[in-house]
Amino acid sequence: MLDIRRIPIPALIGLVLTALFVLAAIFAPWISPHDNAEIVGDVWEPMTAVHWLGTDNLGRDLLSRMIYGARITLFIAVLATALSFSLGAILGFSAAVFGGWFDTILSRLVDLLMSIPTLIMGLVVLSVLPTNLVTLILVMGILDSTRVYRLSRAVAVDINVMDYVEAAKLRGEGSGWIIFREILPNALSPLVSELGLRFIYAVLFLSTLSFLGLGVQPPDADWGGMVKENKDGIVFGIAAALIPAAAIAALAISVNLVADWILNRTTSLKGGRG
């Protein structure tokens, strides 16, 4: 069904790059030349044959840290996005289907959460709670799910009044069938396009938090944290901070190329057969 020659070039580029990042993340301990925290040379050494990307502010191998950083960055961003989408979409669809007080209470709660800027909310919560991966993922996921909730609810409200949903209700179907079998497949297109965007926001949000010192704790570092570690080098003409930044940008673009392609396929009403 999936013919590689029929994948458009941009999607192919996106797929290859995303696959590279994912593989690097999975096989980090085996492919990285050095350990994550191992000091192997001088501070901010330039790119050489030994250290392909040079060394960082403490003399650690930058390539190895980039590879381990991919692992942490992707792991947290993927889980946070998955959480925000399952939570946001299910609650949003339910609000649309049940309506009434359920919808009102949930929507006002979400409005309340959204009225506080995400970053400030995140900073407050993370500075109170112990900083570990679980809290980080939960905080990021829940804060982001408010956006997904608004989108899902808006989409589902429109779908909920379609005749085929009414037909299902007349048949006596429960809310589970209506939400997952009638509404979800038809709401997938806007959700997938939002997914690409939200995933990148998660990466950026994590980077921001790490940059401010509330995200991933040293010696581990995600890419955003690595920008922070090496930012002072920019003044001296050292490019070490730009490499993780470029990696974030590349990931953002490639994930969205893939998302756009999936979007094109999910909008087909003929089961991808044309």
């Binding site: 005749d163 085929y164 037909a167 209700k169 007349l170 048949r171 006596g172 497949p185 009403l269 089961g271």
Partner: protein, 551 residues
């Protein structure tokens, strides 16, 4: 084109028109398909040519080609379109801009969708005239008011100040006709202008259009699938099928002496013989004094309605939009719980609210919708759509379910090859058939049919009605048939309820309801059904006892 100019009187001369479009089938290279195969036609000044055919016959495509327009990537690849003696296809973009809205104007099917809701009617009516600089604003508005008067719109002086949502559908369609006439074009293309309207409104719009055409001496292409309608306004009729000319002749010849078999099929399409069944002793569903309202009791849409349905028989509910006929269906199904009154089913009262009804009651009452497109989940295959009621009500799974789905597909004359198709891969008539199969799958006692044929072409609709009658014979299912089309009623009903503003004004067996003397409203409804007779329109307007709601 010197020779056409010499032939005075010819306004539009289309020669060997060929229209193509590119389609992108999956897994294959894009290919060209021909939508219109070398069609030629001529239209004299001040004459009306009716273009008639089913969906996909190319009638709209040909009509739009007279203004050099191809909808949605459609290309005019061959032939000439001579308007006033010059080939408009050679004029380029600049030529089209000068032509559209001045020499040729267009009246769309859905006026509600064609007007910009953010601007006042008058601004939109005079827009083309002002753009082309043929008149000053004051002159154009004066002309528009005169046209509003001619089209018998209420308050012609002030109606232009309203917004599109402040006038009714029939009025909006007439305003659109005024818009087309305002720039005094030579030719107007009417694209199904009355198809979306009620019969009683349609007759007013039709009469208004006919008068306006006669008084302004404009020529017109009148596109429709309803032969009876086109017979009222056209001088000549052209029958099209699959982008090819079937027959072209004077109106009288086409409707009285059709030469082609296909034309004959179109002319005789409405006649299904259906002998009325005598009502049995006990109705299995009876609606007693039901009153229902929207908006928490403020807008009463059903007032004290009582009807009975007998096993294996058809009750037709007739009325215009807003008469409450669909609301009656919603009250019976429990989607809109009635405020007063009861619905009894098999001798016991049905719960008012949908949520309170047991599964068995839900199974016995099935519904088929007007728009089959939106009544099926576009992401489910035909197999899932028909199979779900089997799973849900009877717990059928796997092979047994698939076998029953195949049987049902056979019953609706489609065959099991369709089981893996998605709704988007079906034609309009096939979609409605799948909806019928879905409701049959539940083995119900009653199927509520809400305007099931009104979105379909006459021939396809005819097939659906025959199918419903056959199924009734085999499965002994009863129908509550909601419609505004009296021809449909005659061919399917055993008893009839005529509804007007939420009340049943006439109720009884088919023969009783359709026998004079009539009350004023039933008379209006009956006399508004277009008949395939020349001059019917004038007779009908003259003989009416009450004005229709849209006027």
């Amino acid at each position: 084109m010197a020779d056409t100019k010499a032939k005075s009187g010819v306004l539009l001369d289309i020669r060997n028109l060929r229209i193509e479009a590119t389609v992108y089938p999956p897994g294959e290279a894009p290919k060209n398909i021909v939508l219109v195969h070398d069609v030629s036609l001529t239209l004299e000044k001040g004459k009306v040519l009716g273009l008639i055919g089913e969906s996909g016959a190319g009638k709209s495509t040909i009509g739009l080609s007279s203004m050099g327009y191809g909808r949605g990537g459609v290309r005019i690849t061959g032939g000439e379109v001579l308007l006033n003696g010059r080939d408009i296809l050679k004029g380029g973009k600049e030529g089209f801009r000068k032509l559209r809205g001045r020499e040729v104007c267009y009246v769309a099917q859905s006026a509600a969708a064609a007007f910009n809701p953010a601007h006042r009617l008058m601004d939109q009516v005079v827009e083309a005239t002002l753009l082309h600089g043929t008149a000053t604003r004051a002159e154009a508005e004066k002309r528009a008011v005169a046209l509003f008067k001619k089209l018998s719109l209420p308050n012609p002086e002030t109606i232009g100040e309203r917004f599109p949502h402040q006038v009714s559908g029939g009025q909006l369609q007439r305003v659109m006709t005024a818009m087309a006439l305002c720039s005094e074009p030579d030719l107007i293309v009417f694209d199904e202008p009355t198809t979306a309207l009620d019969v009683t409104t349609q007759i007013d719009v039709l009469a208004a259009i006919k008068d306006a055409i006669r008084d302004t001496h404009v020529a017109a292409l009148y596109i429709t699938h309803d032969l009876a309608v086109v017979a009222q306004v056209s001088d000549e009729i052209m029958v099209l099928r699959h982008g090819r000319l079937v027959e072209w002749g004077g109106t009288r010849q086409i409707i009285k002496e059709p030469r082609q078999e296909y034309t004959n099929a179109l002319v005789s399409v409405h006649e299904i013989e259906h002998a009325e069944q005598k009502p049995g002793t006990a109705p299995f569903l009876s609606v007693k004094n039901v009153t229902a309202a929207y908006g928490g009791g403020h807008v009463k849409v059903l007032k004290n309605v009582s009807v009975d349905i007998y096993p294996g028989q058809t009750l037709a509910v007739v009325g215009e939009s807003g008469s409450g006929k669909s609301t009656l269906a919603r009250a019976i199904t429990g989607l809109l719980p009635p405020e007063q009154g009861t619905v009894t089913f098999d001798g016991r009262p049905l719960a008012n609210r949908l949520a309170d009804r047991p599964k068995e009651d839900l199974r016995q009452l099935q519904m088929i919708y007007q728009m089959a497109d939106v009544a099926m989940n576009p992401r489910q295959t035909v197999g899932t759509i028909i199979g779900r009621p089997l799973e849900f009500y009877f717990g059928m799974r796997g092979r047994a379910r698939d076998r029953r789905v195949a049987e049902l597909l056979d019953e609706i004359e489609m065959g099991k090859g369709f089981i893996d198709r998605y709704p988007a891969e079906l034609s309009g008539g096939q979609k409605q058939r799948v909806c019928i199969a879905r409701s049959l799958a539940a083995k119900p006692k009653l199927i509520i049919c809400d305007e099931v044929t009104s979105a379909l072409d006459p021939l396809v609709a005819n097939g659906i009605l025959k199918l419903l009658l056959n199924l009734q014979e085999h499965e002994k299912v009863a129908y509550l048939f909601i419609t505004h089309d009296l021809a449909t009623v005659k061919s399917i009903a055993d008893s009839i309820a005529v509804m007007y503003r939420g009340e049943v004004v006439r109720y009884g067996s088919k023969s009783k309801v359709l026998t004079p003397p009539f009350d004023a409203y039933t008379d209006l409804l009956l006399s508004s059904v277009p008949e395939m007779e020349i001059g019917w329109l004038e007779e009908a307007i003259k003989g009416r006892r009450m004005a229709s709601a849209g006027n």
